[in-house]
């Protein structure tokens, strides 16, 4: 035990040093409330990975809460490594009251460490009535509900340049095979069909997850995510083979496999929406729109549009998602106020505040779709909410980081190898199983 405490301390110090260096842990504005309000004089500290415009927009939600209740709120950006930063804050006796947790795995880790307070009755009721039950499950650990999913990501969207598809004369496809066929036509028009960001392993895991969820179905998906079935399962080999059909075709991928492995995520968006497009479509989550709009000045809905990731084989079209869950820490100083904040976040009212400014999807089905600022976001939000209980969380985010979240190792690295040479799906599945077995054991 002693050993363990020391190690955590060491990790925390390092993480702190890194995060100080990398992200300038900035505290948000303190917004003061006034008048005769129930939470007058109380301060809620919220920590989350958001920075930049996301932090600014979340601040609007905090301000709205302050306005309503009179509580003061303060937001701290943790940088990428939430778990180590929050861990060090708890050890240092300076725990935030609320943490916005970006991954299911981290939420489970927090719950197992005993850091989390179960949600109040009111919050649980709102989640019960406002959310599809899949969100409740992803917020629960061993049957206790700890997390409220406030913000979601939609990772089953294929973004395309309408010009490119028009020039090739193809319509947006609804099956995987039709997508490959449309891709073939696009490439005959002289533009590569897809730009794949192979340099970032996570985009490849997302590709795989969509194909797998649609082809093998949600039950298998859950089992694989929990490593209850092996990666050598025939369904995995089948999904890899299906994905390989795309990966091995030089004409479908911008720059061929080699070019894809040299393309990072922003680069892949640039290849479709940049000043000199070399590809017609790029697959990634709803955040592609943000990059296309902010970096390349594209008008979303006109110069950049999306179609849902098509169904593979006889399966249903997949909806892979991700999201940030709000949790209350036991060590926080204002737990009651913090719980009230969570109850507020569960209301459509809170989601509407951020939805209006954009860059936000809510899994809350009571939120009026009219609250979203533009049509494309409205469509993605509708698709997410309509998918109901068939939504699945990003599998690599559920896996231990050593397998699903490490640059140059585990699933990221193995799928990159698969992209380099897609000829042996069986071998790749075996290598994945080997890496997974090691990571899930550790």
């Amino acid at each position: 035990m002693m050993m363990r405490r020391r190690t955590t301390l060491l990790t925390s110090c390092i993480a702190l040093a890194l995060s100080l260096g990398a992200t300038a842990c900035g505290g948000g504005d303190v917004s003061a409330g006034g008048g005769d309000k129930p939470l007058n004089g109380q301060t809620i500290n919220v920590a989350g990975v958001w920075s930049g415009s996301e932090q600014k927009n979340f601040q609007k939600v905090l301000d709205a809460f302050a306005e309503k209740t009179g509580a003061k709120t303060q937001f701290t950006s943790t940088g990428d490594n939430v778990s180590t930063v929050v861990g060090s804050k708890i050890e240092g006796g300076n725990a935030p009251d609320v943490v916005m947790v970006p991954q299911v795995g981290v939420l489970q880790q927090f719950a197992k460490e005993g850091w989390l307070k179960p949600l109040s009755k009111t919050a649980q009721q709102s989640i019960g009535s406002n959310y599809a039950s899949v969100w409740k499950n992803y917020g629960s650990v061993d049957g206790t509900l700890y997390g409220l999913y406030f913000k979601a990501a939609h990772k089953s969207t294929v973004w395309y340049s309408p010009d490119a598809l028009d020039e090739a004369g193809v319509k947006t496809p609804t099956t995987y095979d039709a997508m490959l066929k449309a891709g073939q036509t696009v490439s005959e028009s002289g533009l590569a069909a897809f730009s794949v960001a192979g340099q970032d392993g996570w985009t490849l895991t997302d590709w795989f997850e969509n194909v797998y969820l649609s082809q093998a179905g949600p039950e298998k998906y859950d089992a694989l995510a929990a490593h209850k079935i092996k990666w050598t399962d025939p369904t995995v080999v089948e999904a890899l083979t299906t994905l390989g059909k795309l990966f091995k075709d030089k004409e479908l991928i911008a720059g061929g496999q080699k070019g894809a492995l040299n393309t990072d995520f922003p680069g892949s968006v640039e290849k479709v929406f940049g000043p000199e497009p070399t590809a017609g479509m790029v697959y990634e989550g709803d955040f592609v729109a943000g990059v296309a709009k902010d970096q390349f000045g594209k008008k979303i809905g006109e110069d950049a549009d999306f179609f849902p990731f098509p169904a593979v084989g006889t399966g249903k079209a997949p909806v892979v998602s991700g999201g940030d869950a709000a949790v209350v820490l036991k060590d926080g100083k204002n737990q009651k106020a913090a719980m009230e904040f969570l109850e507020y976040l569960a209301t459509p009212e809170a989601s509407a505040v951020w939805a209006e400014v954009g860059g936000f999807l809510s899994p809350n089905k009571k939120l009026d779709l009219a609250s979203y600022g533009d049509d494309i976001t409205r469509e993605t939000a509708k698709s997410l909410v309509d998918a109901g209980d068939s939504v699945r969380f990003d599998m690599s985010d559920q896996a231990p980081a050593a397998f699903g979240g490490t640059k140059g190792a585990g699933e990221w690295k193995l799928l990159q190898d698969f992209l380099r040479d897609p000829s042996d799906p069986k071998g790749t599945a075996a290598a994945l199983e080997q890496a997974a077995a090691k990571a899930y054991k550790g």
Partner: protein
Amino acid sequence: MTATLLKEASPPPAAPADHERKRRARRRARVIALAFVFPALLLLGALVVYPVLFSVGRSFFDASGDRFVGGDNYTEMFRDPATLTAVRNTAIWVVVAPTLLTGLGLVLAVLVEKIRWATAFKLLLFMPMAVSFLAAGIIFRLAYDEDPEKGVLNAAAVSVHDAFKDASSYPNARARDGQGLTKAADGSYGTTAAASPGDTVGLGLVGVRAEDLPGDARPAYPASGRKASADELRGVVYLDFTRGGGGEQGKVDRTESGLPGMKAEAVRDGKAVASATTAADGSFRFKGLDPGSYTVRLPASNFAAPYEGISWLGPALVTPAIIGAYLWIWTGFAMVLIGAGLAALPRDALEAARMDGANEWQIFRRITVPLLAPVLTVVFVTLVINVMKVFDLVYIIAPGPVQEDATVLATQMWLVSFGGGNNQGLGSALGVLLLLLVIPAMVFNVRRFRGSQR
């Protein structure tokens, strides 16, 4: 303190008491010495000895630190191919980088002595030392980038290559399967069916963007209908793709453009007997052919992919590339140290050699290098220790897909302990391995220092 010293210095009064007092004085001196050393010992203990012992202890525990696993981490370490790659790469680093650096430093130091603007030159070479490894890593990551538009090294490689060899005009053009053209092993396309003089053939290609067509390209439709006379073979190379879809595949539609500047050959019995270049509307003709059957071939040179430069950060070259960046930073250091040693060389030996008629190479070989040997060894060993712990450059320069091919022990240690693996037991074992490898070099250096003090 002064009092003590005075007492020690005072002359001894009586014999037996004197002995006793001397011993006491010596003991006191020892205590005082200890008191002086204590802060340093404390710091060393807390910052060096304790962490080392802690890591050694930690390496016998599992990932969570709760369970004693004995030597498991060490066996696991050598079973993991990534560690073996790391060991191999570290070995390459340790052998190559210090050798090259010492060699380069020596050559530069000797040469710099002989030029006029020595100080300015030294300053220039020393400058990269002032750049942090992180910044240097980012600079080199960009310099090595594979895309010639971004990476300066590949931009140079590509422009040199293209100066000697022309790029083809239709690198991405290809034919659809089963529409009259077959791709040969060498990348050329030939008509599947035979044609005879008097025929007009259509060769449809796809994969060229309408925007990328040469400015003088004209629709191919009129040319495709032209009749060939009895001794000529006519044809048209066209883009078989109608904007916005539609159009019939394998037929020249009205809007479809010709592909100008394409080389075409008439082939008979595997030998090219006539060749032509297509006109603005994609048409070509071979005149004065003997009767018989021919195939028309579009040679591979039309479709040659553009030269893409060198894959600096590919699995094969990544370690040498990173060592290159390391050289850029440390050459100045080696040069300045060796230069200082050079300045302290006894001039008379050099003069004497010169008087005896030795040439510069002989002086360098027989006098400068042997006399400089102690300095060279110190530089070499210091660099060996330094290279063992190289981390930042490797971590920053190597892109994700080749991270594992470039990994060294220090990066592996970090990745395993904090970079996702979160197995600090295994990480500590790697740390211990690194320590064991550094110790010989340290012992050697300490010995040398002691030797030079004597």
